[in-house]
């Protein structure tokens, strides 16, 4: 400490406290006391114990600031001299972060590590995080989401069902026999009848196990197996917790882009967000085919027509054809591919 190696002099500029007045100055330090002196006159501008100084961190080659206890500031471009002085007088190392940042072949390694981490985050950490989030979600949360979603739908698009009581009872009891065969049992689900209005023939599942079936769909379907096929499909969504997964995944991707991105530019950020949106579309298409397969298997297990769902899609195509604009981007596209997949899977299940 006390032993001063070759006397250190750093030249720079000095500002009085809170003033933009600048004076050419020299910074020296001896025996634990730092001094800023005028470059020409050599008069003492500021003085203080080294331990009472605050020195700004090194970032690239930007000027360093040394702030004295009285608020006056010595500023210099001589980063290396400051680092040497810090090391000698305060036993500090050059900042760890700056050491990493320096332009050096080691950066290639860092690039590789970042690339691997990014791919790993998206491929493995994101799905795992989604699974963990699904697992730790208290049952109250899906109930909360389901109930409030149904409440707001009831206030806006849906109306009370006008289906005959008998028909409703028949469907409900068939639905319960289907639901009986799931791990959660019949009580994990709640079938609700509504008039669809603008959403027309439709059925959808809420995360709490509530499944909404519209009168329009029931009227459109020629037989019970078609309706049950749709209900089995919605049960599949609930059993696989699809809506919760989609929600967590979207939140996870947004967080990744926001936090990891940092400085990637607004244009690139936009591209990533749009790209993530497209990926979500294919993700939900995967969920649809998973629910389709579940429907086939559940129907077969219940001794019903396994391809009941395909039958409904046939009717939908006949009635609405390709001229239904809603079908184009809807989440339940009744494409020939999809019908074919259902039939193929039904044949496989039947052959077993």
């Amino acid at each position: 400490m006390g032993s001063d190696r070759p006397r250190l002099v750093i030249s720079g500029q000095w500002h009085p406290p809170g003033s933009s007045r600048a004076e050419a100055a020299r910074f020296t330090s001896a025996d634990g006391v730092a001094t800023a002196k005028g470059a020409e006159g050599g008069e003492t501008l500021a003085e203080g114990a080294v331990s009472g100084l605050s020195v700004s961190n090194r970032v690239g080659r930007i000027p360093r600031r040394i702030t004295f206890a009285d608020g006056s500031v010595f500023e210099t471009d001589d980063n290396d001299a400051i680092d040497r002085w810090l090391k000698a007088h305060r036993g500090w190392r050059v900042g760890f972060v700056h050491g990493l940042e320096r332009f050096h072949p080691r950066l290639i390694l860092l690039v590789a590590v970042v690339a691997v981490l990014c791919v790993g985050l998206y491929r493995y950490a994101l799905p795992i995080a989604v699974e963990v989030a699904v697992a730790v979600t208290p049952p109250a949360a899906p109930r909360l989401m389901g109930q409030s979603a149904l409440a707001s739908l009831d206030q806006t698009v849906l109306a009370p069902s006008q289906l005959e009581g008998q028909r409703r009872q028949a469907i409900t009891s068939d639905f319960r026999t289907l639901a009986e065969l799931t791990p959660g049992g019949a009580d994990a689900f709640d079938l609700q009848f509504r008039r669809g209005g603008v959403i027309g023939p439709n059925a959808f599942a809420l995360p709490d196990g509530t499944i909404v079936l519209t009168d329009e769909l029931v009227r459109l379907a020629r037989d019970e197996d078609a309706v049950l096929g749709v209900l089995a499909h919605e049960i599949g969504h609930v059993v696989h917790k699809h809506s919760l997964r989609r929600l967590y995944r979207a939140a996870g991707i947004t967080t990744l882009i926001m936090f990891i991105g940092g400085d990637i530019g607004s244009g690139m950020e936009e591209v990533l967000v749009q790209g993530a949106g497209l990926m979500t579309l294919s993700y939900s298409r995967d969920q649809e085919s998973e629910a389709d397969r579940y429907s086939v298997e559940l129907m077969a297990k219940a001794g019903r027509e396994p391809a009941g769902l395909a039958r409904l899609f046939d009717v939908l195509r006949e009635n609405y054809g390709d001229d239904d604009r809603n079908d184009f981007f809807s989440t339940h596209p009744t494409t020939p591919d999809r019908i074919e997949d259902i039939r193929r899977h039904a044949a496989e299940v039947g052959a077993r």
């Binding site: 809170g18 690239g60 940092g262 530019g265 244009g267 054809g321 001229d323």
Partner: protein
């Protein structure tokens, strides 16, 4: 003091006036290291380091932006930014979850009311958050040991950030120059340095002279593309289409991309022109005049080639792109000084609450100028 007061005010003897140009001295290779370490440590610390990453990034860009041989500095601290971000995050979560809780508790009346009111509350809070953000950014910025300050109020932000964009959208961009005028008057015209204010009064006529070209571009590009897109969509859903659905989806997507490209192109053109007008109409302390001479084509070219380079390098060209843009923008910005800048600046003292008060500030919403 004597020197400064002897100076002839703006418009006086041209011999006393000279131009100081901004410059950016950062290097792509150097920033690359900072950038990649920022990302690495952010991932490794599960996002917590992002606050410190921001400080290092800002310090690098501010510290390399020079005027008259001296650079700017950025003084925010990582912890301060982290706390601000946590506060905003918690507030957003509460905002998102609150209606569900009302619905769950069977308070459907409150639920409905909350659903109606909350978006407006958020909208009403926006100008306040923006104002705080701008003030924070100004107060953590210094030049020659004196901090900037920002004096904009709530209603100024309300007009500049809510009314302006709303009017511009409602009139399909025809009133965009009016919105730009409000925006620049608010963001630049409320800045002060050592108690001396910047005045910024961009004239509508000058703004409209920068407007008609990009407007024409949009008109010529967007109209046919929209017809094409709608036509494709109609054809695809008419049942006449014999091609498979993916082909049509791709076509519609391509039309969408082209639309975005035209809007982006026109937007860059307009932004550069408006920045020139705003800076050329800005005066510091009634005597030093700002100037901006961005070439609209050059600026657009740099922005677009930066964007493409970033995409095709999977993001790794971003440091080069950021440094390239900063260098161009700084080189096109200047201050026409009356009298000796050094003598003038030697008189500038820190005033007001700028220093210290910043610790009570929140980062708020971060908008780059």
């Amino acid at each position: 003091m004597n020197d400064a007061s002897r100076v002839i005010p703006a418009g006086g003897n041209p011999q006393d006036r000279h131009t100081e140009t901004f410059s950016f001295t950062g290097r792509a290779g150097e920033y690359f290291g900072i950038w990649i370490v920022n990302i690495l440590l952010t991932i490794v610390t599960l996002g917590i380091y992002s606050a410190w990453a921001k400080v290092r990034r800002q310090r690098y860009f501010y510290g390399n932006t020079e005027l008259a041989g001296r650079s700017f500095d950025y003084h925010a601290r990582g912890l301060q930014i982290l706390i601000g971000r946590i506060v905003v995050l918690v507030a957003l979560i509460i905002y998102a979850v609150l209606p569900y809780i009302f619905a769950y508790a069977n308070m459907f009346v409150i639920y409905t009311v909350a659903n109606l009111i909350l978006p407006f509350l958020l909208l009403a809070a926006m100008p306040w958050l923006i104002k705080r953000g701008l003030r924070f950014n100004a107060r953590v910025t210094s030049y020659r040991n004196v901090r900037l300050d920002f004096h904009g109020g709530y209603w100024g932000a309300f007009v500049a950030y809510l009314i302006g964009p709303f009017l511009a959208t409602l009139t399909l961009g025809i009133l965009a120059p009016l919105a730009s005028r409000w925006m620049w008057r608010y963001t630049l015209g409320n800045v002060s340095y050592g108690g001396r204010k910047v005045a910024c009064e961009p004239q509508l006529k000058a703004l409209y002279s920068q407007w008609w070209m990009p407007a024409l571009l949009v008109l010529l590009g967007v109209a046919p593309l929209t017809v094409l897109g709608l036509g494709l969509f109609g054809w695809a859903s008419s049942g006449l289409a014999t091609v498979n659905e993916n082909t049509v989806t791709t076509a519609v997507f391509l039309v969408f991309l082209a639309l975005m490209a035209i809007y982006g192109f026109a937007g860059l053109f307009y932004r550069a022109g408006v920045r020139n007008v705003a800076f050329n109409a800005a005066v510091f302390d009634g005597r030093h005049e700002f100037a901006s001479r961005l070439g609209r084509r050059r600026y657009t070219w740099i922005a677009i080639s930066n964007f493409l380079a970033t995409i095709f390098s999977l993001g790794f060209a971003r440091p080069w792109a950021a440094v390239r843009m900063a260098r161009y923008v700084a080189s096109a910005t200047a201050v026409t000084v009356s009298g000796s800048l050094d003598d003038y600046l030697n008189e500038v003292e820190q005033t007001g609450p700028a220093i210290g008060a910043e610790y009570m500030d929140m980062e708020g919403f971060d908008f780059g100028l």
